[in-house]
């Protein structure tokens, strides 16, 4: 666990180092004294809030679209036995097996034709194409663990099948939905390749990851500044984890059955 956290620690400590000490071996983990002014400097000089807002919009948009599609698809795959259902499920999963970079050119071509190049919506759609296959299977697996009797009980109690899903199955699936949403959010938040391809010419729509790469200079790179911005970019993910933690650890179906 400690070894996993060393890169994180290094990023934070580099952000609080003087520029001249960021490329020295061995690396400094505990700056003495820490240079917090780097954080203030990048906050003033770079449009970090705009980058974060764009990343947040792309990530939340991807999560919303992906969850809407994958909840319905995962629930259908889990509950309804239709001819070819298993093959359809596997076919959906094959989309996840393709490398993301393989889709860059066809997606670029499509977005150019529909006028989405340079728009943040291109990221929402592109990220969703990556997220949906996997989240559909994640949610199918989660729905499989929920006893069918719960929605049967809800239907006998007066719900329609869709009503039973919304009123009973989705609240009970909160941990699964939280984990899946988190996966989708992080995947979208961490994207660089699609943002680089679709948003290069529209600086107002740059996401945080794309913005950070523009901080590399031709001759000199201020790694302490890049590290400081990286810390700002990581904060939303930490906050999301904290917000979803109670759902992630909860076993909400406890008590439904014996």
């Amino acid at each position: 666990m400690r070894s996993v956290n060393i890169p994180d620690l290094l990023v934070v400590s580099n952000g609080s180092l003087d520029h001249s000490r960021t490329e020295v071996l061995p690396p400094t983990f505990w700056p003495d004294p820490p240079q917090w002014k780097t954080f203030a400097k990048v906050w003033e000089e770079r449009p970090i809030l705009l980058w974060l807002a764009n990343s947040t919009f792309a990530a939340l948009g991807s999560v919303t679209l992906s969850m809407f599609v994958s909840v319905l698809a995962g629930y259908s795959l889990s509950r309804f036995q239709v001819r070819g259902g298993n093959s359809l499920g596997l076919f959906i999963l094959t989309a996840k097996m393709l490398p993301a970079t393989l889709l860059v050119i066809p997606l670029f071509s499509i977005f150019r034709n529909v006028g989405l190049i340079g728009s943040i919506w291109s990221l929402v759609i592109a990220h969703s194409t990556l997220i949906i296959p996997f989240t559909t299977w994640m949610l199918k697996g989660y729905f499989d663990t929920i006893p069918k009797e719960l929605e049967h009980a809800a239907m006998v109690d007066g719900c329609s099948p869709l009503g039973a899903m919304i009123r009973v199955i989705l609240p009970v699936s909160a941990p699964g939905l939280a984990a899946t949403s988190l996966y989708a959010f992080v995947l979208s938040w961490a994207d660089y390749a699609y943002a680089r391809t679709f948003l290069t010419n529209s600086q107002d729509n740059w996401t945080a990851n794309l913005g950070i790469t523009t901080m590399r200079g031709e001759y000199v790179t201020d790694w302490n500044e890049i590290a400081a911005v990286s810390v700002f970019v990581a904060i939303p993910i930490l906050l999301i984890y904290l917000f979803l933690e109670r759902y992630l650890v909860g076993g909400l179906t406890a008590g439904a059955e014996k």
Binding site: V172, G255, K258
Partner: protein, 369 residues
């Protein structure tokens, strides 16, 4: 409350017919138990009645309403599930009141009816708890509360006691029977436990491979089984089945069982060449009697008030494969209430009355009357 009429309902999954043509009239207020081994179709018919599974054909009437094609919500039945199926994210109060809310009942009336149902079942002190904070018995009561609060036309219960421990099961069995007597709603109860069926039912329906074997009240089912399956299924321990050969004794019809000729009275074998004789374990006694044979005991199980004594009958015993009859593999079983010492390996005289011997046609498996 209403009577239920099931008319020629059947169910197929592709080529597999899990429920053969099923017709049944259930009286208003009746407690009907569907019983049979796993996979006999008893839960399927319950789901069809609830509207959770479509029937492949036939009609279902609830009172005068044809509910065959209605959604579960529109049938006005309540169902209690084997695993309770309580909504884990809701409190007991919300669980019991869920059906009322779905039907648009106002908050005040919902609250009053939930409290009434909770008092009836003794769960009023748990109303603000979640299901995970309740014991198995309490959860089952909440599941019952969710059913009775709606005052439906009929209750459907799918093995509601099978997840409870033995002691609690006996207690809840009595509570459900008492509840039924008090509110008098038509109830269809599914179980694989023949003791539940015998103790709770007004009438029992025995199913096997999707087909009704017999419909009768518990006493008739026990005393006058229609066929070999019913005879073996009802009773604990199950009936002993022995090879029997048609013969004559002093010029009257008889069968030979355990190498002893036994008159069959007015029963007519109608040319059946292969016959199976059935004797219930409780119809054996030690010592000399109307018909006596000497048998060697192989195993003695003492239950305190009575003993189960197994005897080696060699190839006289007929192995009938049914779930309820695990004992048959150990030999002929006698349920003896007399005290006294019987040791394994003893050869003892065992007697029974010819009138207690059931005869079945080995080919059709029907009882010989």
């Amino acid at each position: 409350m209403a009577n239920i009429s099931i008319r020629s309902v059947h169910k197929k999954y592709g080529p597999l017919e899990v429920l053969k043509t099923f017709s049944l009239e259930i009286e208003d207020g009746e407690f009907l138990v569907l019983v049979g081994p796993s996979g006999c179709g008893k839960s399927t018919i319950l789901k069809i009645l609830a509207g959770l599974e479509p029937a492949s054909g036939g009609q279902i009437f609830l009172g005068k309403r044809d509910v065959t094609d209605l959604a579960p919500a529109d049938r006005d039945v309540a169902m209690v599930f084997q695993n309770y199926a309580l909504y884990p994210h809701l409190t007991v109060r919300q669980n019991i009141g869920f059906g009322l809310r779905m039907r648009g009942m106002n908050q005040q009336e919902t609250r009053a009816r939930v409290l009434d149902a909770a008092k009836t079942l003794g769960v009023e002190s748990y109303l603000d708890r979640r299901p995970k904070d309740l014991s198995g018995g309490q959860r089952q009561r909440v599941a019952l509360g969710r059913a009775i609060v709606r005052e439906p036309q009929a209750f459907l219960m799918d093995e509601p006691l099978s997840n409870l421990d033995a002691k609690l099961r006996v207690q809840m069995r009595a509570e459900i029977s008492a509840l039924h007597k008090r509110i008098g709603v038509t109830t269809i109860y599914v179980t694989h436990d023949q003791i539940e069926a015998m103790t709770m039912a007004d009438r029992i329906v025995i199913l096997r491979d999707g087909k009704i074997q017999q419909i009768a009240d518990p006493d008739t089912m026990y005393q006058h089984p229609d066929n070999l399956f019913v005879a073996g299924f009802i009773g604990s321990p199950g009936m002993n089945f022995l090879k029997a050969t048609p013969t004559e004794l002093d010029g009257i019809a008889a069968v030979s069982i355990l190498d002893v000729k036994i008159p069959i009275g007015a029963r007519r074998l109608d040319g059946a060449r292969k016959v199976i004789a059935g004797i219930r374990p409780e119809h054996f006694s030690f010592g000399k009697g109307a018909i006596s044979v000497n048998l060697r005991s192989t195993l003695v199980e003492s239950l305190g008030s009575e003993k189960y004594v197994y005897f080696d009958c060699g190839d006289h015993l007929v192995e009938c494969k049914m779930e309820a009859q695990e004992e048959s593999s150990k030999g002929l079983i006698a349920r003896i209430s007399q005290s006294g010492r019987i040791a394994e390996g003893d050869e003892v005289p065992v007697s029974f009355n010819p009138a207690d011997v059931y005869l079945f046609d080995a080919d059709t498996e029907l009882v010989v009357r």
